[in-house]
């Protein structure tokens, strides 16, 4: 079995003006496609072939660096497309909102802490909202690492992630990462984040 690049769940221009169509097209059709192809190449003939991406990531410290980089890139981008949407709930609600309030005090505090994690990740990487049992924490990882990896500093189930590789925002925002992170928070699909929180 090999991994397949999923289609975007919406049109390239669906997240305009927050994230532009050209960025979405290159990000999905070129970057995500390359991670998928390179992951399949790296797994060919290995004992990991046929395992789920989650199984592979949970064991990543024992696998070649090409699997770590491309397996992370494959999984992380799948999550990223899914946790954005043009419509959907604009704010967390219900049990997820309660968990956010418990962990961070308020949605506003969560936003500040998540933004800080995204802005202080030096170089390429991701910021995450991570589920640990019933509670939530924020973390960030370098390059294409993520909280499912066995060597991650903060382990758990990522339920929201923002890509802060420059390719995620450079065509529209250039050096202004804060503007991009702010725009991202406008297109978060909180229904999908809640679904992932329920597990």
């Amino acid at each position: 079995m090999s991994f397949v690049l999923q289609n975007l769940p919406y049109a390239y221009d669906a997240l305009e003006p927050y994230i532009d169509a050209k960025t979405m097209e290159i990000h999905h059709d070129k970057h995500h496609a390359a991670y998928t192809t390179n992951l399949n190449t790296a797994l060919q003939g290995s004992t990991s072939e046929g395992k789920t991406i989650e199984e592979i990531l949970s064991n990543i410290s024992t696998l070649p660096v090409a699997v770590r980089n491309n397996g992370g890139g494959f999984f992380n981008h799948n999550l990223y497309w899914d946790v954005m949407a043009p419509g959907g709930a604009k704010l967390p609600e219900g049990d997820l909102l309660k968990a956010i309030d418990n962990a961070f005090g308020s949605y506003q505090n969560f936003k500040e802490a998540f933004t800080k994690a995204a802005l202080t990740r030096f170089g390429s990487g991701w910021a995450w909202l991570v589920k640990q049992g019933d509670s939530l924490v924020i973390s960030s990882t370098p390059n294409q690492d993520n909280p499912l990896m066995d060597m991650a500093e903060v382990k758990g189930t990522p339920i929201l992630g923002v890509d802060v590789w420059e390719h995620a925002y450079y065509l529209k925002y250039q050096n202004r990462r804060p503007d991009y992170v702010d725009a991202f928070l406008n297109v978060v699909n909180w229904d999908e984040v809640a679904r992932r929180f329920k597990g």
């Binding site: 290159i26 070129k30 970057h31 390359a34 660096v65 170089g123 390059n143 420059e166 450079y170």
Partner: protein, 191 residues
């Protein structure tokens, strides 16, 4: 001591069409400037307040290292280009490259591979080590060969901001164009 952003040693559009004026405007005017500003802010009240850049790169950690090394790396990167570059090394540098890598083409091939395979943000370098031997090294993020005691001779910035406006995901196309503007006279001076 307070650091200042060095001016580009050529016009903003001098490297067109290989590196665009727009890329240089952001890369020098925004990114490089931000590293200088951040460094100046971060060193206030620390042991590095009056240190030179090399000391900062060799001894600091965290934000001071990241910004200090990026100030050096970018100055070093921008200084090695020219609109009328010497297209090949000559003399002792040429001989040393041929002795180390077999030929100029073989060196470029190895350097290109280092630049293309540096995963995430970082740099590829031609360095002279403590014994005078030439090698190619990769550094991630702000990594700088001065920290290891090496003498850097040439570098390629492979942070996406160095090429994304011009080449998007096509890093190899950027690396190919990079060679069109490298001034080997500058590299010889460093050697």
């Amino acid at each position: 001591m307070s650091f200042t952003l060095p001016s580009l040693p050529y016009a903003i559009d001098a490297l067109e069409p290989y590196i665009s004026a727009k890329t240089l405007e952001f890369h020098h005017g925004k990114h490089h400037q931000a590293y200088v500003t951040n460094l100046n802010n971060l060193i206030v009240g620390t042991e590095f307040e009056n240190a030179d850049l090399e000391t900062i790169i060799k001894k600091s950690e965290g934000g001071i290292f990241n910004n200090g090394a990026q100030v050096f790396n970018h100055t070093f990167y921008f200084e090695q280009f020219s609109a009328t570059p010497a297209a090949e090394p000559t003399g002792a540098l040429k001989e040393t490259i041929e002795a180390a890598f077999g030929s100029l083409d073989a060196f470029k091939e190895a350097f290109n591979k280092a630049a293309a395979t540096q995963f995430g943000s970082g740099w590829a370098w031609l360095i002279k080590d403590l014994s005078g031997k030439l090698s190619i090294v990769q550094t991630s993020n702000a990594g700088c060969p001065l920290r290891s005691g090496f003498t850097p001779l040439l570098t390629c910035d492979v942070w996406e901001h160095a090429y994304y406006l011009d080449k998007q995901n096509l890093r190899p196309a950027y690396i190919a164009d990079f060679w069109k503007v490298v001034d080997w006279k500058v590299v010889e001076g460093r050697f």
